[in-house]
């Protein structure tokens, strides 16, 4: 192994009540790599992504991301770390409907603790092909446009880790390909390692060896 892994997890388990929903004896992701997490519904994909984002404390095990010990850190430390290092694209895109596209991105910059940078916002929107939508409200966007805005928001602060939870399940084949291409391009542009969690078998071919959860084959 030439580069240090961005993610390294060991003996990771997560339980809800007595039910084990995630069990990961050993898993590593190379820096700058694109990795697919594949598994049926309920197999623990979202749970894993939440742990990687520092939103959820696993029941046991140890996870290092970009040298940061998520499992050993306090909630406050994880919040601060996540704001700087992690970008997240959810299936439900969660754009704030009271704000315009540009305001949504400006809020993300504020909360990430980076300087307000309108040029960066415009530039990122332009690279994702939605430059003309800056003044629009989320409800005025198509699903595809909204997804591009959500991706823009996730990479705006140049995170080390870009997580995407079910980014394609609502899309047809053509849009599905386009969405993945955008994610890959955005990750490459900001130098992020990309993790995509899905049960969508269509996108298997785009990635190398996937992490299989819940006995998925």
């Amino acid at each position: 192994m030439t580069t240090a892994p961005l993610i390294s997890a060991e003996a990771l388990t997560h339980r809800y009540a007595d039910r084990v929903v995630l069990e990961l004896p050993r898993w590593q992701v190379d820096t700058g790599g694109h990795t697919l997490v594949l598994g049926p519904s309920g197999s623990g994909k979202s749970t894993l992504l939440s742990i990687l984002a520092g939103l959820l404390s696993p029941t046991s095990g140890k996870v290092l991301v970009d040298g940061f010990d998520i499992t050993g850190a306090s909630q406050r430390e994880r919040d601060a770390w996540r704001a700087r290092k992690v970008g997240f694209v959810m299936q439900r895109l969660h754009l704030i409907s009271a704000l315009t596209v540009e305001q949504n991105l400006a809020l993300a910059q504020t909360l990430a603790g980076v300087e307000r940078d309108t040029a960066r916002i415009r530039d990122t929107l332009a690279k994702l092909g939605v430059a003309g939508k800056a003044g629009q409200r989320p409800h005025e966007l198509s699903v595809g446009e909204a997804q591009r805005v959500a991706i823009a928001r996730a990479v705006l602060h140049r995170p080390a880790l870009l997580l995407a939870d079910e980014p394609t399940s609502a899309l047809d084949d053509a849009s599905c390909d386009a969405a993945l291409a955008l994610l890959e391009a955005a990750a490459a542009e900001s130098g992020a390692t990309l993790i995509v969690a899905t049960h969508d078998q269509r996108i298997k071919s785009r990635f190398g060896e996937p992490l299989l959860l819940g006995g998925a084959a």
Binding site: A53, D79, A83, R84, R92, H94, A98, D165
Partner: protein, 439 residues
């Protein structure tokens, strides 16, 4: 995107709900403001007008009416008293000063008050222009009376019978303006002051029988030269008769031959102890009544207090309703924005920041409600004041800022804080991961 920008974005996003919340509180605050301004000015007024008057001696009847008519110049007097009756009690050494008042006429609904110059001293009134009256039928105008009637020094006017205006004119006895008072902030601003003799003079041509008065009305109003009666000698001519009375400060101009009448005397005691004895002494003098402004004013204020209490309860209910509305709106917003809040946590917002945002939103609403309420309250008081001035001769303004109003603003902010406390706490405790993983 700082917290306030975000707050405004959310408030703008639900304009009707925002407006409803603001309006509800504004109505409560406006009601309180009107009460505050009204009560303050009424009390202030009542206190200022009765300054220096320990007792009013007038005709038998309602003591409140006597005070209202002679001290506040609102009601009509109970009747007149004979000078001879009053002189006996006023000779008492307990009396430091007694100021006569002779009411009955008005000009353009400003009361003409026959009195002595001591009345000016009592209210600290200073002449802005001209000189005080010397001859009968010379008059000094209160600041507002001068302004509203437009009368200048040297102008002549005809008083009309009755206090409301519109009565028959005393055309045979026109007044001449010799002076105009500087504003006093008391009822004196609205009075036309003259000597008691002037009022007597104006009434010498009056016929006491209503039937005859009606008959004469038409003639007199049209032709000032139809003056059937002979002029009687001026009242001052008899003044010397009373020089043996040695009561300092008494206004001798009013003391005249028996049979002459005035409406009342404003009495100032020589010693505060007089209050225990003197009113009863007057009361026992058959025809006279003694009324204490302090007591009657307190009664008036407590009567007003009931009305104000009712208003206060009304305002309280409104404010409580608005607090409840605000609370429900915040709980609603909390559910509606669950994903927004989770997202902000994901993007790096601390729980404390989200809680602060909920508090800021609530307090912005209540602050807006308070400001709008104060504006509405002042505007309403002003309109009410104009109506009162036109119909009741009572002055009231909305252009007045009381220190208590800062407390209203502070109270509104506290209300906003309290209403948001529980929602803010819940927001700060919200679990993020499940909300975001939801499909």
């Amino acid at each position: 995107m700082n917290i306030l920008q975000l707050v405004f974005a959310y408030l703008k996003h639900r304009p009707w709900l925002t407006l409803l919340n603001v309006l509800l509180l504004a109505l409560g605050i406006a009601t309180l403001t009107v009460m505050l301004l009204f009560a303050h000015q009424a009390e202030d007024r009542l206190r200022r007008d009765s300054k220096g008057v320990d007792l009013v001696i007038g005709a038998k009847g309602s003591p409140l009416q006597l005070i209202l008519s002679t001290v506040y110049h609102i009601d009509v007097p109970n009747g007149n008293i004979k000078l001879a009756d009053a002189e006996t009690v006023l000779a008492d050494p307990m009396v430091k000063r007694a100021i006569p008042l002779a009411l009955g006429d008005s000009f353009q609904s400003f009361r003409i008050v026959g009195t002595g110059t001591a009345f000016l001293e009592l209210q600290n009134a200073k002449l802005a222009e001209g000189v005080v009256w010397k001859q009968p039928l010379e008059a000094v105008l209160g600041a507002e009376a001068a302004k509203k009637t437009g009368l200048k020094i040297g102008a002549r006017f005809i008083g009309s019978h009755g206090l409301g205006g519109g009565g028959e004119g005393h055309v045979h006895a026109p007044y001449t303006v010799t002076g105009i008072l500087a504003p006093t902030g008391s009822v004196m601003d609205r009075l036309i002051l003259t000597s008691v003799e002037s009022v007597w003079k104006a009434h010498e041509y009056e016929t006491p029988k209503p039937a005859l008065a009606d008959l004469l009305k038409g003639v007199l109003a049209r032709d000032p030269n139809v003056a059937p009666k002979q002029e009687s000698p001026p009242a001052q001519a008899k003044k010397d008769d009373h020089d043996h009375h040695d009561h300092d400060g008494h206004d001798h101009s009013a003391h005249s031959e028996p049979g002459k009448e005035v409406t009342a005397f404003l009495v100032q005691y020589a010693s505060p102890l007089a209050v225990a004895v003197f009113p009863r002494m007057v009361q026992n003098t058959g025809a006279l009544q003694a009324a204490q402004p302090a007591y009657e004013t307190a009664r008036l204020l407590s009567m007003m207090g009931f009305a104000l209490d009712a208003l206060r309860i009304f305002a309280g209910v409104l404010i409580l309703a608005s607090a409840l509305g605000l609370f429900i709106a915040l709980i609603n917003a909390l559910n509606e924005r669950e994903t927004d809040l989770a997202l902000m946590r994901l993007l790096g917002a601390s729980p404390a920041r989200l809680a602060a945002q909920a508090l800021a939103e609530s307090m912005t609403l209540t602050l807006a409600g308070a400001i709008l309420g104060l504006v509405l309250g002042h505007a309403a008081t002003h309109l009410l004041g104009q109506w009162l001035e036109a119909t009741r001769q009572v002055q009231m303004t909305g252009m007045l800022w009381l220190p208590e109003e800062w407390a209203l603003i502070g109270g509104a902010l506290v209300l906003g804080f309290l209403a948001a406390l529980w929602p803010a706490w819940r927001i700060s405790r919200q679990d993020v991961a499940p909300v975001l993983a939801r499909r």
